[in-house]
Symmetry: C2
Subunit: 338 residues, 2 copies
């Protein structure tokens, strides 16, 4: 690995809100970016207007960002690849390019689980590679795309089993308004990023029902304890969940006005049907897809996850919201298990 | 200790917002409450109107709450005493009644440090008692007084070195809308409650300056890491800070519209002088008093507490806000140390 990113060029796979905002950040850091766009129409719009009218309105993208709809062009472009697809399309996308990104440095922004296999996103990439030793780092932490696009101060974690790769991305991607901490706990960092989308749906429900801020804070705290229990079972480091990719991102997503997962919860609280809300949304509600994976983890590993279970039953089995909330409130009194 | 609280009577020392709201909760649980009021005028108002016009407007207090301005009357009233004075007057108040509460069950709601001695609030009570073995439990967690007064669902921790005392209060004070977890880590629980008031001032500054929600979440996460470092040095259990009295209360106070400490920070961000803000406030800004204690802890114990130090310098030494923020943002890149 050379110390400098090749020719200050970097390829970004996925022109959602996050991939687009992250590309803008990379340009501020001095890179030329090639952004791969999945949707044919969006690709045409981006080439014509330099505005991501699908996912990140209001920003005129700088000329240092080029666009392509050709994955091979992207993988030829740079030794450093950022992946920012939705979780449900990660596997399909990576399979198409797995051979050509085999020895590249991959920075993964996608959060979630592959629903069938319950693999984390970095594991999906590894599987496509056919080797456990891919050069993969994940980036996670409290980072609404819109605020990163605006250049607001943001702080995240980059984790990798290869600590030199985490340090490499830390050095080359940080700037004064984008502070990066490194971590060796890729399991914990990915898990926090995935599970916060589930829990934010619950936070949206509590907000929608106007249960109050005491309830909200208690909910998020107990949600954190639940994520931590799952993390422990999967081999994550406990304290990672106290960090930016754990409670940091969980808070942002649960309290933040810009969170799609939280909004999904708010809509649920009004009695709308989950499927109808999903259909009406332009953007991806990652938490919706992650609930099922998290629920299956809790069953397979026999971990007590009352919030996840309640959300699963509300979203996928039509259980009444208020019944679910009362079931959670009335659990036996106990010692705080954190 | 009998299993039932004596005659379902309980004395509450301190008619601030929290002492008053907590009394209302106790009445819902079936108690008769005697509430000791410090201010002569407020005492008269409460007797006449049954409304706490100083600290908790909008609630008509039920007739099961009696009022007194006589501490001896209060200590004769019950074997169970709740203490909810401001931190700066705890010692003076307890000294007056130390002998008569020697063998009572004390539930302490006051949060902070005694500024001169750096003692935690439970240590102040112990010191007045002249013995280390007093029957003291502390209650902490995300609990805005107003929401508890309204009966909104709230979840807190009761901690005591005597676990049977924590269980006693858990059993006798919980109800369907006031869930109590127990803990043995009185140091961690008290520390979280005290330090969150400091950090909420920082959160108020960030909000006042409109730095964005990514910044806010990063700030609160790093504030938690800082509190945890202090806690570790003082013998607290690390995971306590992931709980209701740690991150739970920190979130509530940092994000909540009802937080006086947060409001103090918002006012600071507008360039107002700390002393002027304090003078203009009717209620106590606990964090203002706790900053100094926390800063002295960091110096005495040699713990890295950049946020506390920055707040100390802004509030007590007139350092420029933006300079302080830049100093924190531009610290060396590192591994996430949580």
């Amino acid at each position: 690995m050379t110390e400098d990113i090749t020719n200050l060029k970097i390829g970004v796979i996925g022109a959602g809100a996050w991939g687009t905002a992250f590309s803008m950040h990379l340009v501020r850091k001095g890179y030329k970016v090639l952004l791969w766009v999945f949707e044919r129409e969006l690709y045409e719009i981006l080439k014509r207007d330099r505005i991501n009218r699908y996912y990140l309105e209001g920003f005129s993208l700088p000329e240092q960002i080029g666009f392509t709809d050709n994955l091979s062009e992207l993988t030829d472009y740079s030794n450093d690849i950022v992946i920012a697809t939705p979780s449900f399309s990660l596997q399909e996308t990576v399979e198409k390019v797995s051979r050509s990104i085999l020895n590249k440095n991959i920075l993964l922004l996608t959060k979630g689980f592959e629903t069938k296999s319950l693999l984390r996103m970095s594991e999906v990439v590894e599987k496509c590679h056919g080797k456990k030793n891919a050069r993969i780092a994940v980036l996670s932490g409290p980072s609404f795309a819109k605020e990163v696009a605006m250049g607001a101060f943001t702080s995240v974690v980059v984790a990798s089993k290869r600590s030199e790769l985490a340090s490499y991305f830390q050095k080359h991607i940080h700037n004064d308004n984008f502070r990066i901490y490194t971590s060796k706990d890729i399991v914990g960092v990915e898990l926090g990023g995935a599970m916060k989308n589930v829990m934010a749906i619950g936070a949206g429900i509590i907000e929608g029902l106007a249960l109050g801020t005491n309830t909200q804070a208690a909910f998020i705290t107990r949600a954190l304890a639940e994520i931590k229990r799952l993390g422990k079972a999967l081999g994550a480091k406990e304290t990672t969940f106290m960090g930016l990719s754990g409670i940091g991102d969980l808070m942002l997503t649960s309290y933040g006005q810009l969170s799609r997962n939280r909004m999904f919860g708010v809509e649920l609280s009004k009695g709308k049907k989950p499927q109808d809300i999903i259909k009406s949304q332009n953007t991806v509600v990652e938490g919706y897809y992650t609930i099922e994976a998290a629920y299956r983890f809790s069953k397979t590993l026999n971990i007590e996850m009352p919030i996840t279970e309640a959300l699963y039953k509300v979203v996928f089995e039509g259980k009444q919201l208020l019944t679910s909330i009362n079931d959670i409130k009335n659990r036996a009194l106990k010692e705080e298990d954190i």
